[in-house]
């Protein structure tokens, strides 16, 4: 499948005054001056031996720097490797990334894995194949053109003449990747482009110990954190008292944790300790009820900048529409809680983590612990599904701090559900103001918008100070800086998808990044797109209505991009949009976007039913991710993204009072359950000769837009704030 990873941008800090000592090497480092440009992450990680190795027993290992976060990337990369090497897929094993051994591919995010890692792996494997063939040709005197490779065995005109396995020890890959490599043409592919089953799924179906949560090291202790009762609270006193199972307390500044031999004892001890801790608390959060007002007001003190501008304002305008849209903070809400295992040996720290960016985490751990990077090793292990910058990095520092009390002993630290839903970074609340002008025929003349939000990235490894949660709670704390936005070239953060894809002569898009951050924010699937796509599509629906046109026809007449047109038409066809009939209490809507305006396309038709609340009953999803390495995997990502979008649209909102996040359990932060999940029909347009684009994030935002359109169709009202609950629908903004 195509880059089906999720979460955030391959962003670089805009405000970073100087380069951090590490964690950035693949991004800002790159090849020596004058070296030829290599595809994807290979450009900055140029040694072939970093990417793959052959073994005498007939196996190939690939070692990508991108990590499995539930999106199937290891399967995709294995397919690409098997294809280019001409070996059976079963011979290929993908190893989880280890920093500092694996190629530094930054963060697995932004739907960029197949682009960054897949194109690198394809080139590296094609190059490796070429090098081996050269050597065999030299040794046998048979010209390269006359040698074929069949499941790793080299054949000349008269039969087998060698294999990868026989040459495995010859160190042939200890070299820089050549600029030229003969990558297979699309028509010759047999493994890439097919829906091979996910390689990691069997373990998960049989309950095998595959997640970092399952790691059991000899002598390992279990740790839990005792969180402050509210944000910004300082630990002032801790009463002495007995703890179960010889549990021991780790305290530094306002970081408080407990270690015990069993999980049960650790949890019991943490509960007792919490009752003995005293904290100085204060109000640090805005009024939730007035969130849009707070955003507006904080924006006056924020950093305003231009996102896109083109053309000149129209001289005459027939109709002007002015609208505002709002969304609340959103939580990752993974089913598993964040977990890490840490072990100190002398001055060296080893961490097992489900982080999206092992190198980035390594850099921030070193900064927070005030030790050199070289002393830190981060080993990736899978976690529960990851949809962006969640608590995975934070918990790694928690584990490292707890483990420092017991040198030589591995410590497993697991977050509670309350920590996961209450303390992980959130996707920021946003407000967008749009003004659109049309002529007398309804054609768009001008589009102006202002997108207000906290930054959408506080990823580790990118700033001089660590961004990990506990870093601000240490005895010598690090400051918490307001989150940043990746540059528009990387897809942007808050303004992601804020520039309409439609043909509009005059555009002026601006954004304001807030410089105060009462609630820690970072990247979650789609970033600003979850609000921007819906707000644009809502205005399009309203303009279509004003012009007396069908929403589909109105969009089509403002589109020039043939692939956008194709997905819209495909979705409309799947849903029988033209033949839809009106039913009391039911409605249909549509939404379309090209993710980041540079990634995959998705168009969605939603059918909703309005009862005591809104239910989404069906979704028809059309997509285009260019070349699909694993079509079923890509479809799975589109389906998952669409259902995630439906959940965000209908239910999700982080709740808080002036001191704490109160939606820290599943009752207070509900997500869609089995009986509420819509039926989803997905159709992907395969374009084998087009570059791969990520599938993970494309469908989510258009789904929200489509549901909003369906609500209008059913009820005659246009939602102005997420989630589309009876309360927000009644209140407007």
């Amino acid at each position: 499948m195509s880059a089906p990873d999720r979460g955030e941008p391959e962003a670089r800090s805009e405000t970073r005054p100087h380069l951090p000592s590490s964690g950035f090497t693949n991004v800002t480092g790159g090849p020596p001056p004058g070296a030829p440009k290599l595809p994807g992450s290979l450009n900055a990680n140029r040694r072939l031996s970093q990417w793959l190795a052959f073994h005498a027993d007939g196996r190939v290992t690939i070692t990508p720097g991108k990590v499995e976060i539930g999106q199937g990337i290891l399967t995709t990369l294995s397919q690409i490797a098997a294809e280019e090497l001409d070996v059976a897929l079963s011979r290929v094993t993908a190893r989880a990334a280890v920093a500092p051994e694996a190629p530094d591919e930054g963060v697995t995010s932004g739907s960029l894995s197949t682009q960054d890692s897949g194109s690198a792996m394809r080139h590296a494997c094609a190059a490796a194949r070429g090098i081996f063939l050269q050597v065999v040709a030299q040794r046998t005197g048979i010209p390269v053109e006359d040698i074929t490779v069949d499941d790793g065995i080299f054949h000349g005109p008269a039969g087998p003449i060698g294999s990868y396995w026989a040459l495995a020890d010859a160190a042939l890959l200890d070299c820089e990747a050549p600029a030229e490599a003969r990558v297979k043409p699309a028509a010759a592919r047999r493994i890439a482009g097919t829906s091979v089953p996910r390689l990691d799924l069997p373990d998960k179906v049989f309950g095998a110990a595959r997640y970092v949560h399952d790691l059991r090291l000899p002598g390992m202790l279990h740790a839990r954190v005792v969180r402050p009762p509210s944000r910004g609270a300082a630990l002032t006193a801790l009463r002495e008292g007995p703890l179960p199972g010889e549990a021991r307390v780790v305290r530094g500044g306002s970081f408080l944790a407990v270690l015990a031999a069993t999980e049960w004892d650790a949890e019991t001890a943490a509960a007792r300790l919490a009752a003995r801790a005293e904290w100085a608390e204060r109000d640090t959060l805005p009024e939730q009820a007035g969130l849009p007002d707070w955003l507006r007001e904080a924006a006056m003190r924020g950093e305003r900048s231009e996102v896109a501008a083109r053309g000149t304002p129209p001289a005459t305008v027939s109709r002007r529409l002015k609208r505002q849209f709002h969304r609340p903070y959103l939580a990752h809400a993974s089913i598993g809680t964040s977990c890490a295992v840490a072990r100190w040996q002398g001055e060296a720290l080893e961490v097992w983590s489900h982080s999206q960016g092992p190198y980035n985490l390594r850099a921030d751990l070193a900064k927070a612990l005030r030790i050199p990077d070289a002393r830190v090793t981060v080993r990736h292990m899978e976690g529960a599904g990851c949809y962006g910058h969640n608590g995975a990095d934070d918990v790694a520092l928690d584990a490292a701090l707890a483990a420092r009390a017991v040198p030589g002993t591995p410590v497993r630290l697991l977050w509670s559900r309350a920590e996961e839903l209450g303390w992980a970074p959130f996707s920021p609340a946003m407000l967008v103001e749009i003004e659109a002008d049309t002529d007398a025929q309804g054609r768009l003349l001008s589009w102006r918008s202002h997108i207000i939000s906290n930054g959408h990235s506080s990823r580790p490894g990118r700033a001089p100070e660590p961004t990990l949660l506990a870093a601000s709670m240490l005895a010598e704390p690090f400051p918490v800086k307001p989150s940043i936005n990746p540059p528009m070239a990387g897809g942007g953060g808050a303004p992601r998808n804020g520039v309409p894809l439609y043909a509009i002569p005059h555009l002026a898009i601006e954004t304001t990044r807030l410089l105060e951050m009462p609630i820690r924010t970072s990247a979650l699937r789609g970033l600003g797109a979850t609000l921007n796509v819906w707000s644009i599509e809502s205005v399009m629906d309203e303009l279509a209505e004003a012009a007396g046109e069908d929403p589909l026809a109105y969009r089509l007449r403002h589109l020039e991009d043939p692939r956008a047109i194709a997905v819209l038409e495909r979705a409309a066809e799947l849903a029988n949009w033209a033949g839809r009939s009106k039913r009391e209490g039911w409605g249909m809507g549509l939404g379309m976007a090209r993710y980041k305006n540079s990634g995959a396309w998705a168009a969605v038709v939603a059918e909703i039913e309005a009862r005591e609340r809104i239910f989404c009953r069906r979704l028809w999803v059309a997509g285009d991710v260019g070349e699909t390495v694993n079509p079923d995997g890509a479809a799975n990502q589109y389906e998952g993204g669409a259902i995630h979008g439906a959940s965000v649209a209908l239910l999700e909102q982080v709740r808080f009072d002036r001191r704490r996040v109160t939606s820290d359990n599943w009752d207070a932060y509900p997500i869609l359950r089995f009986s509420e999940v819509p039926e989803v029909t997905t159709s992907l347009i395969d374009r084998p000769d087009q570059p791969f684009l990520g599938a993970g994030e494309a469908a989510m935002a258009p789904t929200i837009a489509a549901i909003a359109g369906g609500i209008h169709d059913a009820l005659g009202l246009r939602p102005r704030a997420l989630p589309f609950t009876p309360e927000t629908l009644a209140a407007g903004i």
Partner: protein
């Protein structure tokens, strides 16, 4: 000491009596299938079968299972001899991260044991205690239907 039957074999665990079944299973019993998600009966990641009936292992005291039979996803089948539901989840590719699957599989097994041919509504109702954040729901429902067909054949 707590004694019960775990996936068909007798086990004796030396644990404090109020230890949750989930901690007992993941700790001294050495299993990884039952997963922690919330600890408050909100997500179903920890679901196991006690005497064939789905139970939240996160809130159930291990001592309450004394003398009873407990089945986890490991007890449903193995790669060599998968339960039809496990085979069906693989056939439908009904998972992304897979973290929710251990609990869902045991609930589905209990459903099919009681109702061999459940309709879609019954399947969704039986799985409603389970959260899946990756959006694999519809594939999982298809997998349950497929398993029901296989088991009837």
């Amino acid at each position: 000491m707590v004694q019960f039957t775990l996936n068909g074999a007798a086990v004796t665990l030396d644990i404090p009596p109020d230890t949750s079944l989930l901690h007992a299973l993941r700790g001294p019993a050495g299993l990884s299938g039952p997963r922690f998600g919330c600890g408050t009966e909100g997500c179903g990641a920890c679901m196991v079968l006690v005497e064939g009936v789905p139970a939240y292992a996160c809130t159930l005291a291990a001592s309450a299972c004394a003398g009873k039979s407990v089945t986890t996803v490991e007890g449903l089948g193995t790669p060599d001899a998968p339960h039809p539901l496990q085979a069906a989840v693989l056939a439908e590719q009904a998972g992304q991260c897979g973290y929710c699957l251990s609990g869902i599989l045991v609930s589905a097994a209990a459903l099919l044991a009681k109702t061999p041919d459940p309709d879609e509504v019954a399947i969704r109702a039986a799985l409603d205690p389970h959260l899946c954040r990756c959006g694999s729901h519809n594939r999982i429902v298809r997998a349950v239907r497929r398993a029901a067909r296989e088991m009837a054949a």
